[in-house]
């Protein structure tokens, strides 16, 4: 029992209509063997969501691209002597849903179950087996290998996926964020159960785990459940810190011929971290530029004024280290140069002048006015708890979110933009051009 967060208290004040609860809303503690637990009691629906997140995504692949994905994918394929069918049937009989996935940083497994005893206990039992006693049988490795290779084929017939891979490769070079979450062909071909087992034993450990729970249980039940899940894991150690993201290099253009009628364009550079000192300034800056749909400068220029694309957007993807800042759009091959030119000019003008007072206020009103929409379901709360826990954000992150947004000024926004985004560093990826 390390600590109990009081962060949720202010949330009550913010959302006066939230049903009153006894005690703090977001609660956090550490299990006996070192897993971090984030808990939010939500008694309105007779259900519970659990998400176990490990720092075990493709950034940890090292010399074996795909090992994080394969490890995660194999958990429910066989565990504690149960085969994939038996595991799936156990969840189904309990009315429970199991899900899993591995991205760049996170590898996760999730359970959604009803809270009646006929569901909860069998669902938790199966979930615990999958998480802590995977078998990694050779047949299952072979089957998953085929599926991963087929997924790579599918990825290669999607222009947007090809573009994303190319952008990360160009921006991150030999930094672990360059590793594609889906792995690479030669490496997938070489993976075996030994490699998977070693990866599992290093990263699927209690001290590397953030366990989020949202649902119709009380604190006592949450502690019991969290203890039960974590107890099946070795204590292990936290994943080591990733190296800092590389400094942005000189911009360039990467063209990938592709048999599509549209070109998929991504323009990016190195952006910001979770908990970045400029986080809120850059968050609002992006909202004005390309993060707010029709209200944003980018979509308004590219789509509304010039009719060049259906979608045009930008985003920062903050990670433990600096994730990318990305502009994206798709347009007919013949219009590619014009669209890129317009987007880059829009970006340069924005970097030079910043946002107007009107734009800033409109964005601040949208973000703060829409705060309740970020936490209006158990699923979204589970996501928020995971982010706060995984990135070790302050427990009052949500409570102070609107204040931080409101504190952004045109001046601080412009300052952050100018110092963090160098227009000369933008890498442009164009995938397309090979059809009509």
């Amino acid at each position: 029992m390390a600590r109990t967060g009081l962060g949720g208290l202010c949330l009550l004040a913010l959302l006066a209509a939230w049903p009153l609860q006894a005690g703090p809303l977001i609660q956090t503690w550490t299990t006996a063997n070192g897993a971090r637990v984030m808990f939010y009691p939500a008694p309105e629906l007779p259900m519970l969501d659990i998400r176990a997140t490990f720092a075990g995504g493709s950034a940890r692949d090292g010399t074996q691209p795909g090992v994080a994905s394969m490890t995660n994918g194999l958990l429910a394929e066989g565990a504690a002597g149960l085969d994939a069918q038996q595991i799936a049937e156990r969840f189904e009989r309990a009315g429970a849903r199991f899900a899993n996935g591995a991205q760049r940083e996170m590898a996760w497994v999730a359970l959604r179950t009803l809270t009646g005893p006929a569901s909860l206990e069998p669902a938790l039992d199966t979930f615990g087996r999958v998480l802590s006693r995977p078998d990694f049988k050779r047949d299952d490795v072979e089957r998953l290998r085929l599926q991963m290779l087929s997924a790579l084929d599918q990825l290669e017939q999607s222009a947007s996926s090809v573009a994303e891979r190319a952008l990360y490769r160009a921006l991150y070079a030999d930094h672990p964020y360059a590793n594609p979450p889906q792995g690479e062909r030669t490496s997938i071909a070489a993976l075996d159960s030994g490699a998977v087992r070693a990866f599992y034993e290093r990263y699927y450990v209690a001290r590397n785990l953030t366990l989020a729970l949202v649902g119709d249980i009380d604190r006592q039940a949450a502690e019991r459940i969290a203890e039960g899940i974590a107890a099946g894991l070795r204590a292990g150690g936290k994943a080591s810190e990733l190296p800092p993201a590389p400094a942005p290099q000189a911009g360039r253009t990467v063209r990938v011929p592709f048999p599509s009628r549209q070109s998929h364009i991504l323009i990016g550079t190195i952006g910001m971290r979770r908990g970045d000192r400029d986080y809120f300034d850059l968050y609002v800056a992006n909202h004005v530029f390309g993060g707010s749909g029709f209200a944003s400068r980018l979509l308004s220029t590219i789509r509304e004024r010039h009719g060049l694309a259906y979608s045009a957007y930008s985003y920062f993807l903050p990670m433990a280290e600096r994730g990318p800042f990305v502009l994206g759009m798709q347009t007919r091959n013949a219009q590619t140069d014009r669209a890129i030119d317009l987007a880059l000019r829009e970006l340069e003008a924005y970097l030079a002048d910043g946002a107007s007072t009107g734009e800033l206020e409109a964005s601040q009103r949208n973000i703060t006015g829409g705060f309740a929409l970020r936490i209006d379901s158990n699923r979204k709360l589970l996501q928020q708890l995971t982010t706060i826990g995984f990135y070790d954000l302050p427990l009052d992150y949500l409570d102070l979110f609107n204040d931080r947004i409101t504190a952004v000024s045109t001046r601080s926004l412009h300052q952050a933009l100018r110092t963090r985004i160098d227009p000369q560093s933008m890498v442009t990826v164009i995938v397309g051009g090979d059809a009509g």
Partner: protein, 435 residues
């Protein structure tokens, strides 16, 4: 038995606040679902019009009109609707289907009045300027390239649908054929707007932290003054009987082959007995929807014929629909092998009654899914809107779980034998072509 235990434990899957229904004098239907978990509201306006109302030459007009609804109405300039909602902390968008066009906002509950005022303004006063349409047409063409033309499986599905249906308007792609989008004029859009956009052809669905009486008061204030307009019933355009299996084969620039097949089946509205439709719903869930379902279990894990396989059925539809099956062959397997494997699964449904344990498991999954669906206010509103707009009615939609519970193994086998037959089948295959 397990079902009973689960439900007793969860307090009844269909629990929740009751739905409030009203009809204004001008025919606008209003449905309010209270959910006080968060101080937010979802407001949706549903029109009974979509691609299945269209005919050749103007395919895609419902979707195009949906785009133009953001381009000025009454006192609103192009883009102003979105701007106002954004400034008030809301998220908004719209979507078009075969049987509906719907507009929505998700916003703080205090802003509901604003949404209703703006929606009422564009229900009758759309601007529709030629210059705006000229730009938006290009946007829609880009959307079509992005969603369909550059995606091998989407092209396959589009051609599959157009092959399965010869006379039913279900054959049209929702976004429309490219040549129809190209040839579409403001006059076409105006005629479509005038034909279908009226309070008596719309349903307002509001879900969230609201007082139903207050919703009614606001709706009366803003939508009340709108006049009833004559709205034609769409002509019956049934599908002509099929004689024998239909087949279409595509060669596309792709890396992975793909197969989709479908049997013509009735949705709930057209089923001779409601039980048939619920049996089809269960049949689709026996095949897909969980890692323990038959297609994943047999095709993906056991024989490893496919790397991916799925099935689906549209319970709520206005016209005859399809029981769909699709699959991606494993790298060392052929389209033919995948087709044979899917057909073998269909044959098994016809030949053998599903076991009691499997049936119970699948029902448990569906019933639990009903509880989970209540976590999303948007989805709750969506369900109400679809049921109402397709013509099923929400009273019937409320019987969903009863319908599912009543399905027996014999029911599933009966509908499999009646509907999953050669004369109702269309198969589309796509093989990668070089460059």
């Amino acid at each position: 038995m397990l079902l009973l235990t689960l439900l007793a434990a969860s307090g009844g899957a269909s629990a929740g606040e009751r739905l409030h229904e009203y009809v204004l004098d001008n025919g606008l239907k209003i449905m309010v679902q209270v959910d006080r978990r968060a101080p937010v509201v979802v407001s949706q306006v549903w029109y009974k019009v979509g691609s299945s109302y269209e005919h050749d030459g103007i395919t895609g007009v419902s979707h195009a009109l949906e785009h133009m609804m953001f381009k000025g109405a009454g006192n609103l300039e192009p883009g102003e609707f979105s701007e106002i909602i954004a400034r008030n902390g809301g998220r908004e968008n719209a979507f078009t289907g075969r049987n509906y066009t719907a507009y929505f906002q998700r916003i703080h509950r205090d802003k509901l009045e604003l949404c209703l005022r703006l929606e009422a303004e564009r229900m009758r006063g759309l601007t529709l300027k030629a210059a705006e349409w000229a730009k938006e047409k290009e946007v829609i063409k880009e959307e079509r390239l992005n969603r369909t033309d550059d995606r091998p499986s989407s092209v396959t599905y589009e051609r599959f649908t157009a092959t399965a249906f010869a006379t039913s308007p279900s054959r049209h792609p929702i976004i429309g054929w490219m040549h129809d989008i190209d040839a579409m004029s403001v006059t076409d859009l105006r005629a479509w707007y005038d034909a279908w956009y009226a309070p008596n052809n719309a349903t307002l669905v509001v879900a969230g932290d609201v007082d139903p009486g207050e919703v009614l008061r606001l709706a009366k204030r803003y939508f009340g003054p709108l006049e009833v307009r004559p709205v034609a019933r769409p002509k019956p355009r049934p599908e002509v009987p099929q004689h024998g299996r239909k087949r279409v084969h595509l060669r596309l620039p792709a890396k992975v082959p793909y197969l989709v097949m479908g049997y013509k089946v009735p949705p709930l509205l057209l089923a001779r007995r409601a039980a048939d439709a619920y049996a089809l719903e269960l049949l689709a869930s026996i095949l897909d929807g969980a890692d323990s379902a038959r297609l994943v279990s047999n095709l993906v894990r056991d024989t490893q014929t496919a790397t991916d396989a799925g099935a689906s059925y549209e319970l709520y539809d206005r016209l005859q629909t399809l029981l769909l099956l699709d699959a991606t062959p494993a790298p060392d397997k052929t389209l033919k092998q995948v087709e044979t494997a899917l057909l073998a699964e269909v044959e098994r449904l016809r030949d053998q009654p599903v076991g009691e344990a499997e049936l119970a498991r699948v029902k448990t999954r569906i019933i639990a899914g009903e509880v989970y669906s209540r976590d999303s206010v948007f989805y709750q509103a969506m369900r109400i809107g679809v049921a109402e707009t397709v013509g099923v009615g929400y009273a019937t939609a409320r019987e969903y779980l009863d319908g599912i519970r009543a399905v027996s193994a014999e029911d599933v086998q009966r509908v499999a034998r009646e509907y999953l037959v050669e004369d109702r089948l269309t198969v589309a295959t796509m093989e990668p072509a070089d460059g």
